[in-house]
Symmetry: C2
Amino acid sequence: MIQTPYLLFLGDAPDALAAKVAQGIKDWRPEFAVGQFRMEGCRADMGLPDLTIAEAKAAGVKTLVIGVANRGGVISPAWKKVLIEALEQGLDLASGLHNLLRDEPELVAAAEANGRALHDVRVPSVDYPIANGKKRTGKRMLAVGTDCSVGKMYTALCVEKEMRARGLKASFRATGQTGILITGDGVPLDAVIADFMAGSIEYLTPDNDADHWDLIEGQGSLFHVSYSGVTLALVHGGQPDALVICHEPTRPHMRGLPDYTPPSLEQVRDTALLLARVANPACVAVGYAINTQHMAEDEAKAYLADVETKLGLPATDPFRFGAGKLVDALEKI
Amino acid sequence: MIQTPYLLFLGDAPDALAAKVAQGIKDWRPEFAVGQFRMEGCRADMGLPDLTIAEAKAAGVKTLVIGVANRGGVISPAWKKVLIEALEQGLDLASGLHNLLRDEPELVAAAEANGRALHDVRVPSVDYPIANGKKRTGKRMLAVGTDCSVGKMYTALCVEKEMRARGLKASFRATGQTGILITGDGVPLDAVIADFMAGSIEYLTPDNDADHWDLIEGQGSLFHVSYSGVTLALVHGGQPDALVICHEPTRPHMRGLPDYTPPSLEQVRDTALLLARVANPACVAVGYAINTQHMAEDEAKAYLADVETKLGLPATDPFRFGAGKLVDALEKI
């Protein structure tokens, strides 16, 4: 569990996209985002106060989160100077970088000398159990996708936001690095050992109040041959009561797989339900979350109306038009 | 790659079942099994010559394989004495135990001093790639099961044996510890990091001659919620042309999951085909491998006839009645 609130380290981000982790935290957990730290040449801006390490510490910050992708896979000397200063001032560090903080001897030494923690969220820190498949209390929604990177994390976060606005009990459950940094907790599923994947999701979504919703971030796709096993572990370990099917309509082929055509919404709905019902026979599909970022507004609305007509379930772009329709459907379960 | 041939270490096996790894090697790779090493109290016997370490070395043995499960999860001092002697005499060690050889300082020291290798097949020794889904040359059969431990490894080995007897090109591809020790090579899939599961199977079953068959050992089941993700990685990474559906008819519930009823053969066939065709649209089901070990012979034969009538594909217990029918069907692909 990462201590909050955060100072968002933007480093020398070449553009806004490189700082998407910081953006996610700012969008979804603004109460965690006390300030930002930018270095010379930084082209990203979260619109937060620029704080020195000392100012952040004084403002109650507990952890400096690396909210930016590093260039060339190296933690640069310029970064390291700031990170060491943060440790010396009493902040923990958290990172989702492939290059682990713990592999940098200077950071390890500074963390030890100052009694601080280095959180590498790309690596599991828990010995997860083998899944036992026992029915758990509480309700669970899983976002399943036609492909990778179609908006499953944003969908789950949008549903959480709408549920909380309605006074419902709801917890976003992160299964990827960005989601873990946003919420401070979760399972880095793609880095879990095969035998423990489903068990890690049971661990992540334990028994809860009967009227509580776990909103589980999806990963991969049952139709993406590189990662489908990870997805099925979520479907079976998550034991969902409800599926939201996520899709990005403008993609010419599966991400990273030029020879593979994305499946239809019907195929994903039917296959995911078939498999989900092994773990939870009552599982239903409640709606479609369409990522319309590459479509004009009228085009997007026409597409959503068309999906609703053809498939008979609510369809929305939850980030653009709100998750109200999806939550309406979930409230009926 | 483990060097062959082997001396099979049976230790102080309390019964024949404890020595099932040794039995598998003796059954499937008799040419690798030069002799056995039994300690006081050993109740298993492979019917092989009992050799001292020195005799094994003189007979050309390259590796001592631990062919027995250890009691209480500990490599006992009595075992260790023998294992160290083997290293000193110039043999490598290979083990599928949960307790790793490499975690025993005395064994590590003896291996280093004598320039020998310690093979812990439970742990991957390769950095597998992410699966790319590209169509590979050669043919592939995958054994898929209604449940765990229904005979998928034996089915693939039986098909390999029958194919080789017919002069066909065929390679059993091991995906579990026992299979790896039997053949000296393979992928310990249950221990692979989630993101690399499907890629490890692409690595295991690369391009091959157009008329060569890879016979891929299955793992888990699409209907076993603890391990289904591992199974789907095999279905997509293996890119099978043919599925053999494996089943044990007397099981009251899914292995380790008292609340889960085993699926029907039809369910497994349809679900596995649906998913397999994502990676290989030409994939077909060729037959059923029924593990009839708990059935009398006439009962077994009646069951097999019934499956053939109802499902319209060949059914056999390949270990009991031979894999001929399955290979007949595979030869037509």
